[in-house]
């Protein structure tokens, strides 16, 4: 009870003092403002990134491996080094499918963009993928309507296609697309199925999409000396390492590599992106912590400095308070509360700025950066720790003042 009366009195005293020295108090908070704004904005950015990234990456299963010419994460130098690698071929995909014991599905893939037409309607720049029936499993491409490519479709190179949700909408509207003949890049294909809605994947609209048998792709568009990629679905995510090992062995055997030769292909997986991403956000965290810590340190020293000035200016006031019965702890808390209140001003301004900044980011970029309730806790932690840490020296200096000397101070 008693402690609350002091606390409240402390808040009132601090408020009075801050009102009396408005400009000075606000200037003091600049460091705190910068620190808080930086930390909270970066944390909001990281949260937005996490959100966006986990949404994107969930499209790639943790049980899927990709045999490709290039690794997903590489530098420009790497690219020049890997450019001369042999292309991955359809024959290699068939061999992998025949030999891999830990795979449930192996789908070769080659892609391009073409215009699709049906009567007067056209959809441009549709992603066309040439693949096999295994693609349904490796890429989770479930037809919402009709069916997916069958093994027969693939082995006989039939001119059939499974089209994406948005393509179907745009070409057929209310009509039933099944059995209709569409024109893909100058060739006729019969629609056999429609894929369920997929949304975006790293900026690509996966509903403006069509799948055709790989043989049909080859004869319609040619391979043009391009490398395919082989998508491999593993029996379970736990087996991903073993499967990678097995695939490496198969590919090295197919390419007749000697024991000392380096792999001339890459095996990609989701965790590579994850690692890359985590490294990236680690850097952001380091920046947040670094900039935040320095500005908060500067801000804290500012608060300490202003409080020391305040203690000197109010020496007589401290003397009066002591003369009428304030104990050391009362004076100590009075100044600690004042330190925390100056800090709170900075934290509140900082939080408001951070909210504004992340709204700008959310409005101008695809990042859903957002400041949420956690800033209140973070802010409170800042106020208490910075206030106490940097306030304790001036406050205890005030608390230790001898009442008579303080009263006599001019």
């Amino acid at each position: 009870m008693r402690i609350f009366i002091y606390m409240w009195e402390g808040v009132k005293i601090a408020f009075e003092a801050l009102r009396a020295y408005k400009m000075r108090s606000i200037l003091t908070t600049v460091g705190i403002v910068i620190g808080v704004t930086t930390v909270i904005t970066i944390v909001a950015l990281i949260q937005g990134l996490n959100h966006a990234f986990s949404r994107e990456i969930s499209a790639i299963g943790t049980d899927t491996l990709f045999i490709q010419k290039y690794p997903w994460i590489m530098t420009d130098d790497d690219w020049f080094k890997y450019r001369n690698r042999k292309n991955i071929t359809l024959e290699e995909a068939e061999e992998v499918k025949a030999s891999a014991t830990l795979a449930t599905a192996v789908a070769p893939q080659i892609g391009t963009r073409r215009t699709i037409k049906y009567e007067e309607k056209t959809v441009e720049r549709v992603i066309i993928v040439g693949t096999t029936s295994d693609y349904a499993i490796t890429s989770n491409a479930m037809p919402e309507y009709g069916r997916f490519l069958s093994e027969n479709d693939v082995s006989s190179n039939r001119a059939v296609c499974v089209i994406g949700w948005e393509v179907a909408q745009k070409l057929f509207d209310q009509l039933d697309p099944i059995g209709k003949r569409v024109n893909i890049g100058g060739r006729k294909f019969r629609v056999i199925g429609i894929l369920e809605k997929k949304g975006n994947f790293f900026g690509h609209n996966m509903d403006i999409f069509a799948v055709i048998p790989v043989g049909a792709f080859k004869s319609a568009f040619g391979m043009r000396r391009r490398s395919i990629e082989i998508e491999v679905k593993v029996k379970s995510p736990d087996l991903i390492e073993e499967a990678e090992y097995e695939l490496t062995g198969i590919m090295r055997r197919l390419r007749k590599l000697g024991v000392t030769d380096e792999n001339d292909f890459a095996i990609n997986k989701q965790s590579m992106l994850m690692d890359f991403y985590n490294n990236f956000t680690k850097t952001l965290w380091a920046v947040a912590i670094g900039v935040g810590a320095i500005s908060l340190l500067v801000g804290g020293i500012g608060i300490m400095n202003i409080l020391l000035v305040s203690v000197t200016e109010r020496t007589r006031e401290i003397g009066v308070r002591k003369a009428i019965g304030a104990r050391k702890s009362d004076i100590l808390w009075q100044f600690l509360i004042e330190a925390m209140m100056i800090c709170a001003i900075g934290v509140i301004i900082g939080i408001l700025l951070a909210i504004g900044l992340s709204q700008v980011v959310a409005a101008t970029t695809p990042l859903p950066a957002a400041v949420t309730w956690w800033v209140v806790i973070l802010g409170l932690v800042f106020v208490v720790t910075i206030g106490l840490f940097f306030g304790i020296y001036p406050a205890s200096k005030a608390a230790r003042l001898n009442p008579i000397e303080a009263l006599r101070y001019e």
């Binding site: 009366i5 009066v320 019965g325 050391k328």
Partner: protein
Amino acid sequence: MLIQFNNITKIYEIGTVKVEALRGITLQIDKNEYVAIMGPSGSGKSTLMNILGCLDTATQGDYFLNKNNVSEMDDDQLAEIRNREIGFVFQTFNLLPRATALHNVELPLIYNGTPASQRKKLAKDALGKVGLADRMHHKPNELSGGQRQRVAIARALVNNPSIILADEPTGNLDSRTGDEIMEIFEDLHELGNTMIVVTHEEYIAEHSNRIIRLRDGLVERDEAKHGS
């Protein structure tokens, strides 16, 4: 016996120089006495008052207040004594400049945890006793010197202390205003308060019923007046 001083000394040390401000003072003061302390400048009056008011501690000797040995108390206990037992009135008023008269008078009550509603009432009563009920929302710089000193007296009274100490309370006032303040002291004495007042002016000491004269840190004369 309210106050008992046993051979109190106070030595200030400034570097290697020692100043003996009090050189062995023994005295007793009873409840409801009105004591004037007089003496030339530098004779140790303020030093004595500060020790009486528990603002300072003696170098040697014992000080009993209400039979409690103040010389053995720690800082927090002294703060509590200052809060409950002592009402101090200074020559320079020593009010908080940014606080209203009411808040200045409330201050001692804040430091003993009196709830807000009761605090306001007690503070208003005390301001009423010194005739400032209509000035309670004024800040010190909106009040005259005499009014400021009356606020300070209200602050000294508000906790119902055992002693009211005043160190040259009229030193910064003109003589007419000083008389008004002394009248208030007389009233307070008649209401049963114990008053100890330092003064230079013989005519002010006339109000008291005992005069203690100091010289060079010693009691030179301690005379009770008759008939009061």
